[in-house]
């Protein structure tokens, strides 16, 4: 069934593919983010309750969603790397980690800025906030663990194990607003029922969520390609690549 996937286990092919993904996806990501942000920040109506400051939602929610999405994909990549011993997937784990960390930090920062006018405080030890902070530490842990070994291969596998172990945190973040009745508000976008926001606010948000996803995809492929070249620096195909670029 997945025969078409097999050639991409080869670093050379994977490099080509991820470069192509970056090349094609990045413009769409930029387009979505520009449209979504301008629509959200300028044209979307003012909220009757929160005034103008609700507009942070257009960055806060996508960053928060994809901070979890990135961790999940990192965990899956780590699991597959451990089970099927695919070395390129270890590089994928390490390619995702800093991007996810930045998304998490962005979600925390925008949340704090939003929290100040709405809740009257920058930070509370609420379940959602705390578990998101743990997520940030997990990302940093994966990254730090990778670089704490002299042997990249060992470091990569250790990072994979941590990525898999840490995935228990993702459902905790997701359900934290339902399990603990604390300060953070419930889900903004409901999946199956009618959305609780008016369409003029919902559309730019959805576009930005898509934009963040595309940005994540593009940046991951870019970092992945870089990691591939770094780890395969002694191989023939990299030398060929370098010569081509030099011309």
């Amino acid at each position: 069934m997945f025969k078409w996937l097999h050639p991409y286990a080869k670093p050379e092919k994977a490099y080509e593919l991820s470069n192509r993904i970056y090349f094609w996806v990045m413009p769409f990501a930029a387009l979505c983010l520009i449209i979504g942000s301008i629509w959200g920040l300028v044209f979307a109506p003012t909220d009757y309750q929160q005034g103008e400051s609700y507009r942070l939602i257009f960055f806060h929610v996508p960053a928060a969603i994809w901070s979890m999405g990135a961790y999940t994909s990192m965990g899956i990549a780590g699991f597959c790397a451990l089970v099927w011993q695919i070395r390129t997937l270890e590089l994928a784990v390490i390619a995702i980690a800093p991007i996810g960390a930045v998304f998490t930090a962005l979600a925390l920062a925008t949340g704090a800025i939003w929290g100040k006018p709405m809740w009257g405080t920058w930070w509370v030890w609420d379940a959602r906030l705390t578990s998101e902070l743990i997520l940030l530490f997990l990302y940093i842990g994966v990254f730090a663990l990778y670089f704490s070994f002299d042997d990249r291969r060992t470091g990569g596998k250790a990072a994979c194990i941590l990525a898999v172990v840490g995935i228990v945190n993702v459902p905790i973040i997701h359900y934290s607003v339902e399990w603990w009745n604390t300060l953070h508000q419930g889900a903004t976008i409901s999946k199956f029922e009618k959305p609780s926001m008016p369409a003029e606010m919902l559309w730019p948000l959805l576009i930005n969520i898509l934009g963040f996803f595309l940005l994540f995809t593009a940046l991951t492929s870019y970092r992945f390609a870089t990691e591939l070249v770094k780890s395969e620096a002694h191989r023939k195909w990299v030398l060929k690549l370098v010569r081509q670029m030099a011309k």
Binding site: L82, A127, T130, S131, I134, F137, L138, I140, G141, A144, L145, S148, F149, D150, D151, T154, G155, K157, A158, I161, L162, V164, V165, G166, N169, I172
Partner: protein
């Protein structure tokens, strides 16, 4: 040899080795006492305030003390080749890992839990609250040992051990800490603490069941 026999042999061996190096076990305990002593010195000897923060201090001191002991969980066995023997012996190595986790908890975790009774005289903690605190610490230190075993195994081959160990273990412990503090708070106010206690038990059981698998994997990785 049946699995149970092998397990109890491993456990017995851990204790025999431990009996030859008794000086090692005092260290985390002394550290625990020092942390507890530092608190009234730094915050002032105000009885109400001290008894209010005593459970938190107890938990934090236990976490730090276990973190001090954790790098020692597998390091000696790794250095003298015992671990390698375990993995090529043909016996299920997960049993050895499990026995090491258990013996580590009995040797380092349990004494710390018992030492937390020092909070009663030092920080004016109520005895009934201490009883709940000790229960949460039993479960919490089990979870800490289980999760810490993964990190400890992982960092055997690494250059910079303990700093990263804290970074890996503490984030995973925060949920347990939240439930423990909820339980102790409830006990201090005289409300039944069963709900958070059960959650904590669930976490501890989950940790002890699943963490040794990851630990075994990390050990294999370090030795390959």
């Amino acid at each position: 040899m049946s699995y149970f026999q092998y397990f109890s042999h491993s456990l017995k061996r851990d204790f025999q080795v431990a009996a030859t190096q008794k000086h090692e076990f005092g260290l985390p305990l002394i550290f625990f006492v020092l942390v507890v002593v530092l608190v009234p010195l730094s915050i002032g000897p105000e009885a109400n305030l001290l008894s209010r923060i005593a459970p938190a201090i107890g938990w934090i001191a236990v976490i730090l003390s276990i973190l001090i002991a954790l790098p020692r969980m597998f390091s000696e066995e790794f250095d003298n080749g015992w671990l390698e023997q375990v993995f090529i012996s043909g016996h299920p190595s997960i049993l050895s890992v499990l026995s090491r986790v258990l013996s580590f908890w009995l040797l380092y975790g349990l004494p710390l839990v018992l030492a937390s009774i020092l909070l009663v005289p030092f920080l004016q903690l109520a005895l009934s609250t201490w009883w709940v605190l000790a229960q949460t610490l039993v479960l919490g230190s089990l979870l800490m040992t289980a999760l810490g075993s993964i990190a400890s195994a992982m960092l055997l081959g690494s250059r910079k051990g303990s700093g990263i160990l804290a970074l890996l273990v503490i984030p995973l412990l925060i949920p347990a800490l939240i439930f423990a503090s909820a339980a102790v708070d409830a006990a201090a106010q005289g409300i039944p603490a069963q709900g958070p206690m059960l959650m904590l038990t669930g976490l501890a059981v989950l940790g002890i069941t699943l963490a040794p698998i990851a630990t075994e994997h990390s050990l294999k990785l370090v030795m390959s």
